[in-house]
Symmetry: C2
Subunit: 336 residues, 2 copies
């Protein structure tokens, strides 16, 4: 299996990206294609320490920055690393793409180069969210700021496939992120989605509130991309604020004693541990890693990409959505 890595994407690219790719090539039975500026990548590989046949470079001279408009950048920079890496998947030269660069650019590349899985209205970002019980999948984590009810139902379907296939959670529980437990609670969007999820055949456990997300009440948490993005960034900011307060409140001596425990907590809170966020609904495996990814995060993202390929997440989503649309057709005929 070949996995294409955007070697130029991320705060610590290309150094940490290449290092993570080397670690992954040593840890898993995968071949890595590093996509980016050859002259930047080659020196990083010179120290060796890996199976040479497992890593190759595809030169891509351009880079898309974090602050560029994704769709415009994709159109203008046809030789950008994320574009070229995604094209390797489109052309069957790689089975998955991993990037720690601009999420928007990765999504735009995937949409424009791979397209959507048939039947998918809006691809979504599925983000791992660490909880007291392990991890949940938050989807949509930011791809679609304005959503219609049908979109959220598909997010739930795609997220369930991912959690079941890649994380091994059979029939994962699905919660609708809302502002109250009762069916009638929420805004127009969630009120409508609630009824549709009830009839979706998914393991829908009802509404979950903000406080239920870190508690791990649902394995798949469904929301529109605006809310999902706010949730994800708030959680990041709040964890950071709490650790900052600890530094202020505990003297240096005490902080040293605490460090091992705090590190464990940080690791539990750290979603890079869970190996990046899948773009759900695009016609190929595309995994986004956090912008501040270090080598370990990249290695984990590559592991997740490998599993998504092996477990055929894309084919399964296509099949599930096809069955749902068939079911609808039959339902319509029944009504006649």
């Amino acid at each position: 299996m070949k996995i294409a890595i955007d070697a130029m994407g991320g705060d610590f690219a290309p150094g940490e990206i290449v290092r993570g790719a080397v670690e992954a090539a040593n840890a898993y039975p995968v071949e890595i294609v590093l996509v980016g500026r050859q002259e930047a990548i080659e020196p990083l590989l010179r120290r060796g320490g890996y199976r040479e046949e497992a890593i190759s470079i595809v030169h891509a001279p351009e880079v898309i920055g974090m602050d560029e408009h994704p769709v415009n950048a994709i159109k203008e920079k046809k030789a950008a690393s994320i574009v070229v890496a995604t094209e390797l998947v489109r052309d069957g030269k790689a089975q998955a793409v991993v990037s720690a660069g601009s999420t928007g650019a990765a999504m735009a590349s995937a949409l424009l180069r791979l397209g959507r899985i048939r039947g998918v209205e809006r691809p979504a970002i599925g983000s791992p969210f660490p909880t007291l019980k392990g991890v949940s999948l938050l989807t949509d984590a930011g791809a679609n700021a304005d959503c219609r009810p049908g979109h959220l139902v598909q997010f739930a379907q795609m997220g369930s496939v991912y959690a079941e296939r890649v994380w091994g959670m059979p029939g994962p529980s699905v919660g609708l992120l809302n502002i109250g437990e009762e069916a009638a609670k929420g805004n127009e969007l969630t009120q409508e989605v609630y009824g549709r999820l009830l009839g979706s055949g998914l393991n829908f456990i009802g509404n979950v509130e903000g406080r239920d997300v870190p508690a791990g009440k649902a394995q798949v948490v469904v929301c529109d991309g605006f809310v999902g993005n706010v949730v994800l960034k708030l959680a990041e900011g709040l964890a950071g604020a709490l650790f900052a307060m600890m530094k202020e409140e505990f003297q240096a001596g005490l902080a040293a004693i605490l460090l091992p425990g705090l590190r464990k907590i940080k690791r539990r809170m750290d979603y890079t541990e869970y190996g990046g966020a899948p773009l759900l609904g695009v016609n190929g495996v595309a995994i986004i890693s956090h912008g501040s990814s270090n080598a370990k995060a990249i290695r984990n993202a590559i592991r997740v990409a490998k599993e998504a390929v092996e477990k055929d997440v894309v084919g399964t989503i296509a099949r599930v959505l096809h069955e749902k649309s068939q079911g609808k057709e039959e339902g319509k005929e029944d009504e006649k």
Copy 2:
């Protein structure tokens, strides 16, 4: 100044509510009217220890539960403690009402009994949100699940008045909660609101993202009530999850050493310290305290209610909104 307290509202009512009211009566130059079941309140007051002329009871035999439909409950239970307490404000027998009961019932009582300030389209909940820099006001924190752009602009105006008057923050910075820093980011709602806030005359500092909220980037954070409610409950849940993880990771001996520092952090994170959430835009001072309020939280809520009365938050909101609408009229004339 008289302040009416819903003695029956909250997880620890009436015990903690009465205790908090007694503390407030001893600490501040206010008179307290405890509204609720006389037979439940009287025994709690028997132990004395307060200025007797400062505390009186108004009997209200009914109670609205946390799970009742707010508007229906208000209409059916005309003798409910929150309804009677709010009517004291309407009738000029008290200058403010404080409740730790159902937020929905408090909002419905305020809307139906006090009405809106002239010019206010939608009253909102302003919730204190603890940050690394102190505290911000998050508004709307849950009253309006679906909002139009004009609503958010008014939330910003009302929130600014509150932060300036009650918290003494001159020209408080206003941030629009969004999913990116640039003006073009966001959903249809926030994209429209951005431009309107630019021209609002407020100290608008632009978009703030989820991670900027706990960092304290803006003193007033504006969002629709769906997002605000999710943010508030997520923050609560996440802080709880982090403390739970600490208990798991640190041995008992270490935990004892940590306790004083952790308590300080908990206190910094604890929004009951900031004295409850004002209902902004209703025609009277109404303060909601957390459902799990203890005596201290109630005392703080009473202090805040007193300050909102003294600083004439209601009159100031009315004046500011009137000036804005005058400005608009003049603007329209200019256009002709």
